[in-house]
Assembly symmetry: C2
Homo-oligomer: 757 residues x 2
């Protein structure tokens, strides 16, 4: 099967490079000294019986973080980053994620708790492993790399060849070839990427086999790592033989189940190997990789790409190894694993040959230049072993005085990094913050999701068979179609709310000055706002806060309004403070007061300095990638200062409140203040009623309230509804400037998936 | 209470003219000869136990059409027009609505069926009336005019006066004054608006009191009309006395119930007169008016305005009549009713004085000039009685040879008018046709609704306590918020449908020519469309309907597409015909085929003539105020002709199909062909499944289908979903060019109100 030939002839290089990628990364939770924790898997990560992203491997302390498959490797690494940020921000304060594969500060055997999974078979399996291999070996961590070729590639190649008649056989042979070549040449990847040169001596039951100061390339892939009994040999010659030999070892009791066969390549696609013959191998799982401690999340994109190309090379090569070659590859791996990482490998020549093959392939298939350059760098590491990851690691261990110390230091640094922009998911920061917050919670709670459209903030959520879609953080199936349409139309909103018995500011519209003035007596002594019907930057608006007291003032205001529009409104002015109520179902979950941009004097600093200080707040930034916006010092702010007799150079007295804006929008530097617990419950109930009148499941209600401490008086127009908003903002409640955070995204999830406990 | 003075002093003229208006119009259903029908109230008008718009009055044959109250008289008349159009289009072919108040061709007493209402009390009441008055008098029809002053006016006036302490008393006295003055001066309106000069002699049990050729002003308001026993005198001196005297007549058995008191003014606002004292009179009902047979719907806007101003005058006048004055007014009415309509009235002087008062008032309150002009016209009718409505009617009766003949002729003409634009509601023709169709059905079935926003097509529907909102004909609470958001995003739609297992055309996107060409083998021999990602007037699109057969053609198409956009798509081209499926819930209610604009030759006419003929079709027009659009003969059509070797002057052969457009849009003159019964059920089921996958209650699904007669093959991509549309068009299914009409608006109502049978 000349795959290489077909790809060249039919220019399939691009399709050849398409595929699907997933990563599973194990790591130990550790204390700040780097020693493995003895605590249980954190409860906040939900239930491991279904969690798609955050699992435990062997022990309670051993996290297994799983990305969904992605068509782009970049996306897989974004997921890995996001899952890590969720984990690091959710861990107890004194816990960290150890960045090295070999565990440090291992607890005594009886303190290592086997993962407490719901399924008793899963627990029994782990207990069996303890019997067979001891606990310590189970505590080693690695990264598993799942790779699937593009199905279209396999179809196309199948159509272009004649040798194979069955599409499934063709697919199986393709993956089997990749698997066998991988096993044959895996030592090359180990040489380049290994990172387990040493371990504590208490890792070994019978004392360390390493001399003092001795390092190897990979303990994890050596006989001291977590490997099967050498007797267990499984044939890769054909899928039939593979299934047969696996079944044999299970029958004879050498393996408790097929999954106990720890090959560095696993054939994936069915529960049992035999089923693969019919179903076809769907993808391969490569289990060779040590954690790269210098990467926050264990592997970087360049290495992940390199592994992808390496896997492609395994079917590109003309040779299709037999079982003997596979065994040769395995023994070579064992040998290289125990070589001195600072010395050249015994198989340098084969390694360089293989990488040259890789580079040639990259050229032919039209890979990006960066991939070629990177392969060249790797090639150079055969001549100079000090350039390998393992050599670098040895140097750092020496420098820090031990790998536990190094690991602890990196773990602390990585955790601190994850808190830098604690309100965001760094890898998905092109999306809206509210959607990022929702994704954070979904990952934490273990509800799987797919991003259907990043720019449109469109997610598909799934729990079991239950599917929900979410757009912009809280637009869901729970709201009816008509509710946002009602809210979009201010006239209709007013009519609906009024009919339902809620106070809306009454208004009358006029189309001539005379008409309006003739109605003066209607408004006499009433607090009203006179404004053009379509307001434009607030022009033409007059507010009679204390009531209109003479016809002349009224007439003047009417004329001013008519300068801006052909139709004007005289609307009741409600005296009080505006609050935003976030309502979901039968409950007001959050109440927020928005205060115009301001600073408070200290008698020492200038306004400009006070603004700069306030802008240092971690929540303040551009307002789209941060929950709050920095206060500007533009024309509008300076005019506002001027009205108070100030300039940006003035030094306000201690406790003097300096207004920098008249409007209270968060988007112009306003403060958000949580008032949920302060607000009188009668108003919260009103907001719920308004939401119901709108037919909405979720609504942002703006109420004007005279006194938030006193109960609402239903019959009086002392309060009123200003607006009802669909898709209400959540970030200002989740990360208010002052007051308690209200994690509304969790309520959205609970609304969508009440079955998730 | 110097109301006039307060209004002048405080310039309340505008507010004085505000109010609320409703009409109730009775009329007999008749056969084409004008004789009263003996059939039952049509079933299609739903149930009279709740119908808000279409009721029966005394007899099964006597329709009572009721408008909701409106703040603008124009709107009340629009409703009257709409309800009439619904009635006229719903009647059996041989039934009409008689435009005169006096019935013609009355059936024998035993054939006059008392209205068969659900409530036995209502039927018993009618049977009692038969005993008291006989059946014939009950068959007379009129228009009742409900008028409410603006509550703000009453509040304002109350605040401005000192005499009355209680707001309710003030309001009651105001309406009582209006009622009393109306009773005092009602003869003036009778003189100007009456239209019952004669009747068949068989109307009178004891032979006609009218001499041959004798006419009167108003039989209906005379003692020969439907009036109480003259003994029944009810006091209007105070509300207390009003209640007391009514209760007296009921107790003594002279009236079976308070409602049997047929005053030309009824005080409205409570079930019993006594309750009005506490609750307040809410509005007045004026019952004086004969049908104006020269108006399609019994009253025109100018007269309705005149009556409004007349009612205002009744509180504007300084005098507040006592009971004696009321009785004087009543006897004067009886007298004028029997005057010769062609002669001057005995009370001309009083009439002219009153209209001069009216004109003065109109000036002071700033009424429109047209109202003043109209009052002047009415004033002139006192000097020249031949100008009155009644005189005109007498002339027409003479000319036609009898009022039954005249009535029959007008009835037929009015019914024909109502069918002129049978797909619209003439009075609401500024709204979308689909909303008009929905409103038609709501009126017909008796579900009350309010137009919240005309321009936004926003309706509020109510049945009992059950409220629903509808926008654009079918956007409702039954659809979830997320469904239209999914459908709005083509990428997300595709992903959702694909995941749910439906065939969507597969596509690949490319960002460079090289990339695309490198994938050639992927598309070889496949039918594909190559297009820029954002299509712009169809530029840059190449269709390989028969499959791509060589790399060069493919490369050329790729280049063409890249001229239009930075990103191109290669998408599967599905061979077949596109059909639109209208799905609601579990059912495909309609399937439509859209055919590009075309004409069929007859061997005689030119293309231009054939187009003109086709454009004569009643459904064709501008396409927004009509269900179909006229075919244009612009550049695009002429180019299309040229490709067929034709010009607009060519004479196509008999049965030759001439294409005038390539695209099948209805909006460019295409034909709509109903295919619901022809379509294989398997495709209808698929469309339902697609709708469910979108989470939608209502959806327009566009499917490409190879053969509508054969079952869909699920595993093959022989068919596919092109688009799923929220708020799908309904008019093209309701009024297709050919095939059966599918009245989808009825299904929408059934979905919203399953409780309405």
């Amino acid at each position: 099967m000349k795959i290489q030939h077909l790809i060249k002839q039919h220019q399939l290089g691009l399709l050849f490079q398409q595929g699907s990628f997933g990563l599973e990364k194990e790591s130990q939770r550790v204390y700040q000294d780097g020693s493995v924790v003895t605590t249980e898997h954190p409860k906040c990560f939900g239930n491991r019986s279904y969690h798609p992203y955050i699992q435990t491997d062997f022990a309670e302390s051993q996290l297994e973080l799983i990305t969904p498959p992605n068509k782009k490797l970049e996306d897989t690494l974004r997921w890995l980053s996001a899952i890590h940020e969720v984990v690091l921000r959710s861990l107890p304060e004194d816990e960290f994620v150890f960045p090295l594969s070999m565990p440090a500060g291992l607890p005594a055997d009886d303190l290592i708790k086997v993962a407490q999974l719901d399924n008793p078979e899963d627990v029994a399996y782990r207990e069996h492993l303890v019997q067979s291999y001891g606990k310590n070996k189970q505590m080693v961590s690695g990264i598993h790399y799942n790779f699937q070729l593009a199905p279209e590639l396999i179809q196309t190649l199948f159509k272009l060849q004649q040798e194979q008649k069955s599409a499934v056989d063709f697919q199986n042979n393709l993956y089997l070839k990749m698997a066998k070549n991988f096993l044959r040449y895996q030592w090359v990847l180990l040489y380049l990427l290994s990172a387990t040169p040493t371990v504590d001596s208490n890792y070994f039951k019978a004392g360390s086999p390493l001399k003092a100061g001795e390092y190897v390339r990979s303990l994890r892939s050596s006989k001291y790592g977590y490997v099967n009994d050498p007797e267990v040999i499984v044939s890769f010659d054909s899928l039939e033989q593979y299934a047969e030999s696996l079944e044999h070892w299970v029958k004879t009791g050498k393996l408790i189940a097929e999954k106990e066969f720890y090959s560095n390549v696993r054939l994936r696609g069915a529960k049992k190997a035999r089923y693969l013959i019919q179903n076809g191998i769907k993808y391969l799982e490569f289990r060779l990789f040590d954690l790269n401690p210098f990467e926050q999340y264990g592997m970087n994109l360049a290495d992940a790409r390199f592994i992808h190309h390496f896997a492609l090379l395994m079917i590109w090569l003309d040779e299709n190894p037999d079982q003997q070659a596979v065994e040769l590859g395995r023994s070579r791996l064992a040998e290289v694993a125990l070589e001195n990482p600072l010395a050249q490998t015994a198989y340098r020549e084969e390694g360089e040959w293989l990488l040259n093959q890789l580079i040639e392939m990259l050229h032919i298939i039209g890979a990006e230049q960066s991939a070629v350059d990177f392969a060249q760098e790797k090639l150079a590491q055969f001549a100079d072993p000090s350039l390998t990851l393992c050599a670098r690691l040895v140097r750092e261990i020496e420098q820090k005085g031990g790998y536990q110390k190094l690991g602890a230091e990196l773990a602390k640094q990585y955790k601190a990094n994850a808190f830098e922009r604690f309100y965001a998911l760094t890898a998905f920061d092109n999306m809206e913050l509210s959607t990022q917050a929702l994704m954070f919670d979904l990952i934490q709670q273990g509800i799987s999701f797919e991003i259907l459209d990043e720019r449109d903030q469109f997610l598909r959520l799934q729990f079991g068979e239950h599917i929900e879609y979410v757009k912009n953080g809280n637009m869901t199936s729970h709201d009816s179609y008509i509710s946002p349409l009602i809210m979009e139309n201010k006239v209709v909103t007013k009519k609906v709310l009024e009919k339902a018995g809620f106070n809306v500011p009454q208004s009358q519209e006029f189309t001539s000055v005379e008409q309006a003035i003739a109605s003066y007596s209607l408004f006499e002594k009433r607090s009203v706002v006179i404004k053009p019907k379509s307001t434009n930057y607030g022009l033409g608006i007059t507010i009679f806060q204390q009531g209109v007291n003479n016809r002349e003032d009224f007439a003047k205001a009417v004329e001013i309004a008519f300068r801006e529009d052909k139709e004007i409104m005289v609307e009741d002015y409600l005296v009080g403070t505006e609050y935003r109520f976030f309502v979901l179902g039968d409950e007001t979950l959050a109440v927020l007061l928005r205060v115009p941009a301001n600073v408070v004097g200290d008698g020492i600093h200038t306004v400009a300095e006070l603004v700069a200080q306030k802008n240092d707040h971690p929540l303040r930034g551009d307002g789209s990638r941060t929950p709050l916006k920095k206060i500007a010092l533009g024309d509008i702010e300076q005019l506002q200062l001027k009205e108070q007799g100030l300039t940006i150079e003035s030094i306000p007295a201690k406790d003097q409140i300096v207004q920098l804006r008249a409007n209270s929008n968060i988007s112009t530097g306003g403060d958000s203040i949580d008032m949920t617990d302060e607000m009188h419950p009668s108003y919260k109930q009103l907001a719920v009623g308004i939401t119901k009148a709108m037919g909405a499941a979720l609504c942002g209600v703006d109420l004007i309230i005279p006194d938030l401490k006193k109960p609402a008086q239903l019959e009086l127009s002392s309060w009123g509804v200003i607006e009802a908003n669909f898709n209400p903002m959540m970030m200002m409640h989740i990360f208010p400037y002052t007051g308690k955070s209200r994690r509304l995204t969790r309520n959205v999830i609970k609304m969508l998936f009440p079955e998730v406990k």
